[in-house]
Subunit: 229 residues, 2 copies
DNA sequence: TTCTCAATTTGAACACGTTCAAAAGGAGAA
DNA sequence: TTCTCCTTTTGAACGTGTTCAAATTGAGAA
């Protein structure tokens, strides 16, 4: 059999071992950094043989992805709450993305292990089909944030807006992961200013002067997201 | 002594060995792909011991960077010519970037080995201090393209424009590297539309309505590029 | 209870990037 | 020529991610 054996009910022995390995990995990553933590070490901490780690996870990187997946699942109610409690689009977007920051702050630098995969075909890339489930769940939040707001959107780009917002989010997070300024203040500024720019851009989208820009944007998005993908 | 021994005059024995290894690596990369080409294999093709490759190059990735560096150096006259022969900013930007596409087309996918380094501290990252020389040479072309054109620029963002254009270029190249559409037509569309959008944006920059946007952009850029960096 | 078989666990072996101590080469000094 | 010392070359060894054939376990069938 391959990895990820039949997904067992929570509480099964198998599931317990899997989380034990995941937990051991996270501890080791936090203590020694991702690179310097070895699979042998992780397995030892989890009290299993080296090979066992590979029975449960495809690779060392995949452990980080499992962590990412679990985290996003865990934070769903928080995000839900923020969506429900905020009225403006700005507050909603800020809420969704800030929730990510809060959730991942303790393991911020660990996410660097995921950003390494720029190849969309790599199973661990944020753009791969393997990560589509996670990605789509995330995009769905942006869809809701947009739909439940009453901002008027340029019709050509509107269908792509949630995906664009997701990309925007990924960009901000990438910046954050490598932000060495104290308490990541640079990211705070980046996030704040770009979010305001984004909303301002949407607000003035109806101005006739900007028509040609929208036409180009629409054509671009259709070509890039269309057909083959 | 460490790597990169005293840089010898062209034609020295050492230099010859270095290029032989580089050439062997490129051949092997092209034949078997970057991942599957082993250092032992490359060394064998170059008729040296495995360790020799590491005497001349810091790492397997660094060979690709050496190729990138040599290529950009080689294409300088081409870029110069294009800058000289084109009058509009659009033509100039298109010329600079298209020259890159042409130069790297035969080894397009090889560049993927470089895009993996998202960490600005990694020596091979496009953002690292180690690659500053290459990066600055590239940015200088954009500076010239901008300065020698008579487009009026928003004063707040003007100082950052060459660096922004460089980032834009890197983004387009990244897209191109992984573009699987036939003959990379998607990238062509992306490049064409985004370039037009960019110039349109610059053109209408003076409109009073867009003032707040420029103020935000200026503040953002000052914070991100300022002080610490 | 005993048997069966899939799920799980094991740890040695493998592949490959990288390091390193030692050997070889070679250019000038004496 | 012989010596000196730096550059270059060598290939074995190392560390680590990953694979895999074999052993173990355990739940249900008989």
């Amino acid at each position: 059999m391959k990895n990820q054996p039949t997904v067992r009910a929570t509480g099964s022995k198998s599931e317990e071992t899997r989380t034990r390995i995941l937990e051991a990995a996270l501890t080791t990553f936090r203590e020694r950094g991702f690179e310097r933590a070895t699979m042998r070490e992780i397995a030892a901490v989890a009290n299993v043989a080296t090979g066992a780690a590979y029975y449960y996870f495809e690779s060392k990187d995949a452990i980080v992805m499992a962590f990412y997946e679990r985290s996003t699942k865990d934070m769903t109610p928080v995000t839900e709450a923020r969506l429900a409690s905020s009225r403006t689009l700005e507050a909603r977007l800020r809420g969704i993305i800030a929730a990510k920051f809060e959730e991942f702050r303790p393991n911020r630098t660990l996410l660097a292990a995921l950003t390494a995969h720029t190849d969309p075909d790599h199973p661990l890339s944020p753009f791969s089909k393997e990560t589509a489930r996670i990605r789509n769940a995330d995009i769905a939040f942006f869809t809701r944030a947009v739909n439940e707001s009453k901002v008027k959107l340029p019709t050509r780009v509107a269908p792509y807006l949630p995906r664009l917002l997701w990309m925007y989010q990924m960009g901000v997070i990438l910046f954050w992961v490598y932000d060495k300024s104290p308490d990541q203040q640079r990211t705070k500024v980046l996030f704040d200013k770009t979010l305001k720019m984004l909303l301002l851009t949407l607000k003035i989208a109806g101005v006739p002067l900007l028509r040609p820009l929208h036409r180009l944007a629409g054509e671009l998005l259709e070509a890039v997201y269309g057909e083959l993908r």
